[in-house]
């Protein structure tokens, strides 16, 4: 349905889909939270999920790395393929999946450990480093990726919880990229940050796009417009509209999308 964006308008289309979701339904107990969502997420692209509170955008995001598995009453139906492989297949280990599909959360949540250990934790549990020097290199690379290396390189032993909010969030991004994921999911990563920290994180997201597919849930339509190339608008559990960010914001097809971006619903 949406898998053929207009080539003339798409500047970032790599013609490869990282995630392909078909007929996804999510139930919280008796509540039908996500209804019949089909979406294709491209590689090396920032895809933004927007919509009013409770519309299911975070829920859908959490389906992509099976974070919803940890909620007992949550049931996911339908098909979500990562590189053609069904991530809800019984043979898929959600733990391995989450190493491939990293996640950054709404509130910065560094471990109450040192900055170094925060970043080194993922590589350690996945056995990615053969020795200390290896691990040091991975940590440094990840912190550089997270655009926080220069600020913390002299105090890697300091606790991660002692950093400022914006630094903590970049540390969490560094922690997520340390396991070398292919996709980075971000659940309102800037909602707890001040405007300067937000600008830094947005700049970082734009850089991360060079290497990863980034999916970001945001409440801020300006942020979606600034950082994303693709935008999906969710409303009451339905995916209302999905397409090029520019088109969604300037010329939406669905009247509900128009109402939302002009501020009449939400």
């Amino acid at each position: 349905m949406y898998d053929a964006p207009n080539p003339s308008e798409s500047k970032v289309n790599q013609n490869t889909f990282k995630f392909t979701a078909r007929n996804v339904q999510v139930y919280y107990g008796d509540t039908h939270a996500i209804k019949d969502v089909d979406v294709d997420i491209e590689d090396r692209t920032v895809t933004a999920f927007i919509g009013p509170s409770g519309c299911g955008k975070s829920t859908f995001l959490r389906c992509l790395n099976r974070m919803n598995d940890t909620i007992d009453i949550c049931k996911v139906k339908g098909e979500i393929l990562l590189d053609g492989e069904d991530i809800y297949d019984a043979r898929v280990d959600p733990v391995q999946l989450r190493a491939k599909v990293g996640m950054v959360f709404q509130k910065p949540n560094p471990f109450p450990k040192s900055i170094y250990d925060n970043v080194a934790y993922g590589p350690r549990i996945h056995g990615m480093a053969r020795n200390k020097a290896d691990l040091d290199q991975i940590v440094e690379n990840a912190l550089r990726r997270g655009a926080i290396w220069d600020e913390v390189k002299d105090r890697l032993d300091a606790p991660g919880t002692g950093l400022s909010g914006g630094q903590q969030q970049r540390l969490c991004i560094a922690r997520a990229v340390a396991t070398q994921p292919e996709v980075l999911l971000m659940d309102e990563p800037c909602s707890a940050l001040d405007p300067i920290a937000t600008a830094q994180v947005e700049e970082l997201i734009d850089e991360l796009r060079q290497s990863y597919s980034v999916v970001i849930v945001t409440h801020s339509m300006q942020q979606a417009a600034r950082v994303s190339q693709k935008t999906a608008f969710f409303h009451l559990g339905n995916l209302v509209e999905f397409g090029e960010t520019g088109q969604i914001f300037t010329n939406p097809e669905d009247p509900r999308t128009e109402s939302y971006i002009t501020g009449r619903i939400g």
Binding site: D72, R98, A99, G102, N109, C172, A178
Partner: protein
């Protein structure tokens, strides 16, 4: 601007004045009630401690008498050790002060100034060093309880003679000894170095302290791993269904079961079926573990729940398995709460009396246990035994033992508070 700052202030003052007064009155009344409640509780605590201290402090000293004893080779010889006429030797040295006392009955009364344990103290010294036979040595021995009470001013010398245990003549003897300067009141180390005894002046808490230590150790070794293990399973791994609900309800019920019931259970199961030794701290510890475990489970579950979900999400998000999340992140963060709960549970166990009575830890045992399988008492049961004893000397010793028990409880709770504040984290 000046208008704004003056007029509204008067309108605020007048408009809601009736309502404000009512509200202020209510607030003052509530605060007053709270203050009164706290004051009442503090007063009661003060009265409790004050009454314990006022009756107990006298047990922290013990009247001793210092005698020059000629270790008579006719009474005591190396060959017959450890037997010998130690009591006669002591009496002879006491007689030096009272040459006029004669006759069996009077001499016996004179001998009763000394504690029953005095001869054993002399015996131990001679056995340790038989060379002193034939020499004159200085020994310092406890007086018997009656004279201890007299020395501490607990006997009313003005009351009619037939209403006292000590006749005027005996008081006179003691006064003679006091004038001779041989009566002292040193700190009563026997209170912690001796085990229980029939004679108050010799009775101590060593057996109870060691018994309580073994029982608490056993209790900790059983309840801590089992309690934490169950809590982790129930909180983190168990499926949430009616079975886990049932288990949860039962654990909460278990924490509310009266301790005497656990004692009966232990009596029937540990002693009856398994034939484990009576009065043993091992069994006591196992019984106390039954009571402590629900406390630890509930405290651990609360501590695990209090770990913010963002930490779990963070760990899950980088691909940690459930097991790695729990043992690598959640449990370490919950540990201060777990330790606090454990210490409070153990403090409860330390003060628990009823279950220990039922498994026979209130036996009269005059030596400290060497292993958890030996018969022993525990601090609260020792208090129970002493409170039940008729000798006057046990009155102050009971209070002293309660003070010792309270000291341990306060220390344990202080450690718990210290741990909680030290490891408390801000998110």
């Amino acid at each position: 601007m000046t208008d704004i700052s003056t007029t509204p202030s008067s309108s605020i003052g007048s408009a809601g004045s009736a309502l404000m007064k009512k509200r202020n009155r209510r607030q003052t009344a509530l605060q007053g009630l709270g203050l009164a409640a706290i004051s009442f509780a503090a007063l009661m605590l003060f009265i409790l401690i004050a009454s314990l201290v006022s009756s107990g402090y006298k047990a922290f000293t013990q009247t001793h008498i210092q005698l020059e004893v000629f270790v008579d080779p006719e009474e005591i010889s190396v060959e017959r050790l450890p037997r010998g006429g130690f009591d006669d030797v002591l009496l002879a040295s006491l007689q030096d002060y009272f040459p006029d006392v004669e006759g069996r009955a009077d001499l016996r009364k004179l001998e009763n100034i000394l504690s029953n344990g005095a001869q054993f103290r002399l015996r131990d010294r001679v056995v340790e060093n038989p060379d002193i036979i034939g020499q004159t040595i200085t020994v310092k021995v406890p007086t018997s309880d009656d004279y201890d009470q007299l020395a501490k001013g607990l006997v009313n010398r003005e009351s009619p003679e037939d209403q006292r245990k000590l006749a005027n003549r005996q008081i006179g003897w003691f006064e003679t000894l006091e004038e001779a300067g041989v009566i002292t009141q040193p700190i009563n180390w026997a209170l912690i170095t001796n085990a229980d005894s029939r004679f108050p002046e010799l009775a101590g808490l060593k057996g109870a302290l060691v018994g309580s230590f073994w029982a608490l150790l056993v209790c900790f070794l059983i309840s801590f791993p089992l309690g934490i293990g169950s809590a982790i399973y129930l909180e983190e791994f168990a499926p949430k269904n009616k079975w886990s609900d049932l288990i949860e309800v039962n654990i909460n019920n278990l924490a509310a079961v009266p301790s005497v019931v656990f004692g009966l259970l232990a009596l029937a199961v540990f002693l009856g079926w398994f034939g484990m030794p009576r009065s043993a701290p091992l069994v006591g510890g196992m019984t106390l573990a039954l009571m402590t475990m629900p406390t630890i489970i509930i405290a651990t579950r609360a501590a695990l729940k209090a770990v913010p979900p963002s930490i779990r999400e963070a760990a899950l998000g980088v691909g940690a398995s459930k097991h790695q999340v729990v043992f690598g992140h959640v449990l370490p963060l919950a540990m201060p709460g777990v330790l606090t709960g454990t210490i409070i549970g153990l403090a409860q166990a330390l003060g628990e009396t009823a279950p220990l009575l039922l498994i026979g830890m209130n036996a009269f045992i005059t030596s400290a246990p060497d292993t958890p399988l030996d018969s022993a008492t525990a601090l609260p049961t020792q208090i129970f035994i002493w409170a039940d004893s008729p000798e006057r000397g046990f009155v102050s010793r009971t209070s002293a033992a309660i003070l010792v028990l309270l000291t341990f409880l306060v220390t344990m709770n202080a450690v718990a508070i210290y741990l909680r504040s030290k490891f408390e984290r801000k998110w």
